[in-house]
Each structure stands twice: as C-alpha cells, then as structure tokens.
C-alpha cells in the first residue's frame, strides 16, 4: 500500500543569516496541522523561538574513527601512506597517531596494517529530539560541534518527522534548513515538495541565490523566492525580480527591513508575535496564506 508522504516545505537560502529561522518560526506559528523540523543541525536556533519541550532524546551514531595501538605498532608507515586524508602522522615521540578531525573513517588503514594495531571506534556525534511545542510536534537535533555526518542526521530527523506526520494524519512538514549548498542542504532537499528560498538584495545574496536555485533544480525540487530586507537596496531587489521573471520563478513575498525584527528576536519573539512589526507581519501572513493555498491544492 502506498503511504502518502506529508509535503515537506524546506526553507533554504544559500547565504547564511538571511532570515530562514525567523521565517520558519513565524510560519510554524501560522500554519496549522504540521510537523516542524530544524534541519540546521550544526547551528540550530529554531528552538529559541519555539521553546520545545523534549519528549524523547536519542543518540546519533556517526562514522568511526581510527586509533593506533602504539604498543602493537611496528612503525612500518603503511597506514600513513594509504590514508588519503592525511589523518595519520608521526608525533614528536616518533609514534604514529590519528588526527580525529581529519580521519573520515574509511578503514583503509586497518586493511594495510600488518599487525592489527589499528582499531575503529564508533562515534556518538550528536543527539536528536522529538519535542512538543505550542505549535505542534518538532523534530530537531544537535550535532556535536566539529563532527561529521550532518547529511545523515538531517535525513534521520526528516524521516522521523514523516513517521509522526503519518501517525497523526498531518499533511505537511515545515523544515528550517541549513545554509550553503552541500550535504545537509542536499539531504534537506531530498523528497521535498517545495523549497522556499529566503534571499536578500545584496550582491552576496544574489550570487548565493543563483547557486541554491541551481542546486534545487539539480535535485528536481520546485523553488519559490522570498526577498528579505527588500528595501535595503531597491535596484538589487529589482534585479532579483527580473532574474525570477526570466527563469519563471515566483517571488512569494518582499519583506521590508525593520529594526523591530531584531528587537523582537532579542526577546525570543518572531515579528508576528507583536504589533510593532506591522508591515513585516502583514507580508509574512500573506506568504503563509499562499503556502496554505499551495498545501490545499
């Protein structure tokens, strides 16, 4: 039997700090009947605005890291030669050691060690949580700073969100995504129904918008654009508009620059939580209504 997948709406940006999390929190408060996911697992901030109450905490196992038993090691140097990540070197005492930050866990060294002096050690590289918020169930995670496997962790929290949505009969999932275009972003896009790209009218914003849109295209996910701080550079906003028109992309909203947004954030509030953010609030509500319409199609 085919199980209906909840529609994943993923908020991305390419460039960091354009307002993904603020928008994700606002939409989470405005859109009913959904599961919330924070997929920015190495700098997750959505919890600050949604104040989740953790129900379940789970450990996340990443890859393994090699370690060399110096007592068994005969200093042949085969492991160092084969390691393509330059993770093995001689320390000042003349012993071969593994740099845990460089080791990618491929196990090549264990294959070439003639005396079985190398062991692989599984790493717990993060935690993931299922939590309740006033606005719905939230699945989020925390990767240990400096750890690898963020893409796998993103896949895991999204899978869990689908299971919860399925169990509760919820039709949509709002995903606050990571910046960039690399593995956690690709993982966030996998299986998504729609990507909302939050950009800003700066040269950096435009450059990064182009790259994230190409990424969405490559992984066959429809994208719509939201311009944040739209009035900070009208001519750049115009350029984004023309770019969107040329490529048949929809601009879902233009949110103005207003200091009230930062003021509210300082109190852990979104722009829609107070009446001092009039224009910003109106625009976000308009975007939210458009998404609701999209979800009901």
């Amino acid at each position: 039997m085919q199980v209906d997948r909840a529609k994943e709406i993923v908020i991305l940006s390419g460039k960091g700090g354009t307002g993904k999390t603020t928008l994700a929190a606002s939409l989470s408060k405005l859109i009913p009947y959904k599961v919330i996911v924070d997929a920015d697992v190495d700098a997750s901030d959505l919890f600050i605005l949604l104040k989740p109450d953790p129900l379940r905490q789970n450990k996340f196992k990443g890859g393994s890291i090699a370690s060399i038993d110096t007592k068994k090691c005969i200093q042949c140097g085969e492991c160092e030669k084969k390691c393509r990540f330059n993770a093995i070197s001689k320390n000042t005492e003349g012993n071969f050691i593994v740099d845990p930050y460089k080791c990618e866990g491929c196990e090549f060294c264990t294959y070439v060690c003639p005396v079985n002096a190398i062991k692989m050690n599984p790493q717990i590289v993060g935690n993931w949580y299922v939590s309740e918020t006033s606005f719905g169930t939230m699945v989020h995670a925390r990767l240990i700073p400096g750890a690898e496997n963020s893409g796998n962790l993103v896949a895991l929290v999204k899978r869990e969100a689908q299971l919860i949505a399925n169990k509760k009969g919820l039709k949509s999932i709002i995903v606050d995504g990571p910046p960039g275009i690399g593995c956690p972003v690709i993982s966030s896009l996998s299986g998504a129904a729609l990507a909302l790209i939050v950009t800003e009218p700066t040269l950096s914003g435009i450059h990064d918008l182009d790259r994230i849109l190409s990424t969405c295209k490559q992984f066959n996910v429809n994208a719509k654009i939201i311009i944040n701080k739209a009035d900070i550079n009208q001519s750049n906003t115009e350029k984004i508009q023309q770019f969107a028109n040329k490529n048949g992309l929809e601009i879902m909203g233009k949110i103005p620059f207003d200091r009230c947004v930062v003021k509210n954030l300082s109190k852990n509030l979104t722009p829609i939580d107070s009446d001092n953010c009039g224009d910003v609030k109106e625009e976000i509500k308009k975007i939210s209504n458009d998404i609701l319409r999209y979800l009901s199609e």
Partner: protein, 283 residues
C-alpha cells in the same frame, strides 16, 4: 600567521570582516574557504590570474571485468557501491563516495576498478591593487566542500599573513577551514541566535585547542549580551562594529565595512596587532 574567520551563525559578517582585515593590512592573502557560497570576490573584485580544476579520484567499475564478488561494496563504509549479484551489475553512487580508494585496493580483479579524476570544484587565484586573493568554488550538486578546502590549503604559503574566510556552522568544512590556523576570529552578533551559535563555535575551537577571539558585529549601545558572556568566559572581545543601515546598504553593493566605518582601516590594523600579540605570546 594564518587567521581564520568563522562564526557559527551565518550572516554575522564573516566575509566583510575577513575582507576588511585583509585590505587594511599590507601583504596579506585573502582566502575564501566558504566554497559552497564564496562571496569574497564581490568585495575584493580581483583580477583572476589563474584558474584550475580541483579533482578527486573516484572509482570507475568496468562491468566487463567485474566478477560481482561484492568485496568493494562490503568494504565501503559510505555505502557508495552496490553490487547486484543476481543481475550482475555494479552500481556506484558518486555523491556518497569519499575518494578513499579502498574499493580499488580490495578488488581482487586487475583493472576492474579504475580510479578516475572527477572535478569537485575550481580554485581561482587573483589580485587587486597588491591584495592577493584565492578562492575555492564547489561545483553545484557536490556534497562535500571539505576535500576542496583541503586541496586549496596546499596553495597557501606558510610564511605570509593569511586570512581564511570560513563557511558558517560548526561541521566538517568549518573544521577543515579553521584547522592548522594560528588564530580563529569569531564574528558574532548580539542576538539570542548569535550567542547560541557563538557558544557552539567556541565549543568547537576549544576542543580543537585553537586560540580565538571575538568581534561583535551589529553592536547596539545598551545591548551587552555578548560582552557579558565574553567577560564570564574570559574571552577577548577584539572589537565592536555598530549596527547601522549605512553599513548594511554599503554591504549590499559589495563595499566592505572597512570603507564605511570612520577610521575603519585603523580599526582593522589594531585588530590585526592584537591578534599578532596574542599569537606571539602563546608561542
């Protein structure tokens, strides 16, 4: 001396700070290691003198020689190879491959797995009015920028003052960007997001045993969120850049903060000196 500029949170002003630091101090090299979204060139506007492709080896499985024994698939911890024995087919998933070379090593048949170069991105070197510039650009669709950053570092001289602009976050590409540097300059902003992600970044650099200091961007009088935290944690705040629409508008046009701040150059020369003293003192 190598200085990396990182942040945890995105959009705090890493690039404008890194570029400003490079432009204010003579004979520095600016290196853009935010290979997923490199933006430094928009501010430095370099003339590109050299551009080359960065490749990594990936396996090419010759189906006519493969015996479908499955040894490569069993050995690959990234699950980048699947062998379908019943239909005699080997499938390779390039986005999962880490280019470790183990598959070709364990393959018992000669030449069944050939290692071939695949372009992961490009490295560009340039210059503008004496300011040297290096950047890495990850190809769209590539999963990991880490190898490209590692490859790019080979082109950075060790006897120069180098400013490495990192990507946001605290995961593998950031670890690669800040690793081997003498000092990590963490750019943050006085918001709950800024503070939360600053704490994560500090956890990372402490774990890596690197020297570091903070620059507070978008500082507003009366908001002491970061100052108070830094005092408690005994972390040096090297400078504060005010919150201003003027700086934001200049940034939107590709003008770095050093050209907008009154006495901007002095501000960044001063920060460089503080870092140099700190690095020299810690030996």
């Amino acid at each position: 001396m190598w200085i990396s500029v990182a942040s945890g949170k995105g959009g705090t002003g890493k690039t404008t700070v890194a570029v400003s630091l490079a432009l204010s101090n003579k004979n520095t090299i600016y290196v853009d290691a935010d290979v997923e979204e490199p933006n430094g060139f928009l501010f430095i506007k370099p003339v590109i003198k050299e551009e080359f492709s960065y490749t990594e080896l990936i396996p090419l499985i010759h189906q006519n020689k493969c015996t479908f024994c499955g040894k490569c698939a069993d050995a690959c911890v990234y699950k980048a190879i699947a062998i379908l024995k019943p239909v005699k087919k080997a499938i390779f998933f390039p986005e999962l491959c880490h280019s470790c070379g183990l598959c070709s090593f364990v393959c018992p048949v000669e030449d069944a797995i050939e290692e071939v170069p695949k372009e992961k991105g490009r490295i560009r070197k340039g210059e503008k009015n004496g300011q040297l510039f290096i950047e890495g650009i990850l190809n769209v669709g590539e999963a990991s920028g880490t190898p490209l950053i590692r490859g790019m570092k080979k082109y950075i001289p060790h006897d120069k003052d180098v400013i490495i602009d990192s990507s946001p976050g605290t995961s593998c590409p950031v670890v690669e960007s800040v690793g081997d540097t003498d000092f990590v300059l963490l750019v943050t902003e006085p918001t709950p997001f800024g503070l939360n992600d600053l704490k994560l970044a500090i956890e990372m650099v402490r774990e890596m045993k690197l020297s570091f200091g903070i620059i507070v961007n978008k500082h507003e009088e009366g908001n002491n969120l970061i100052r108070d935290y830094a005092r408690e944690e005994k972390i040096t705040v090297l400078g504060e850049i005010p919150f201003s629409r003027e700086i934001a508008e200049a940034y939107s046009k590709g003008i770095p903060v050093v050209d907008v701040l009154p006495d901007g150059k002095k501000f960044f020369v001063n920060i460089m000196e503080k870092i140099r003293k700190g690095v020299n003192a810690s030996g």
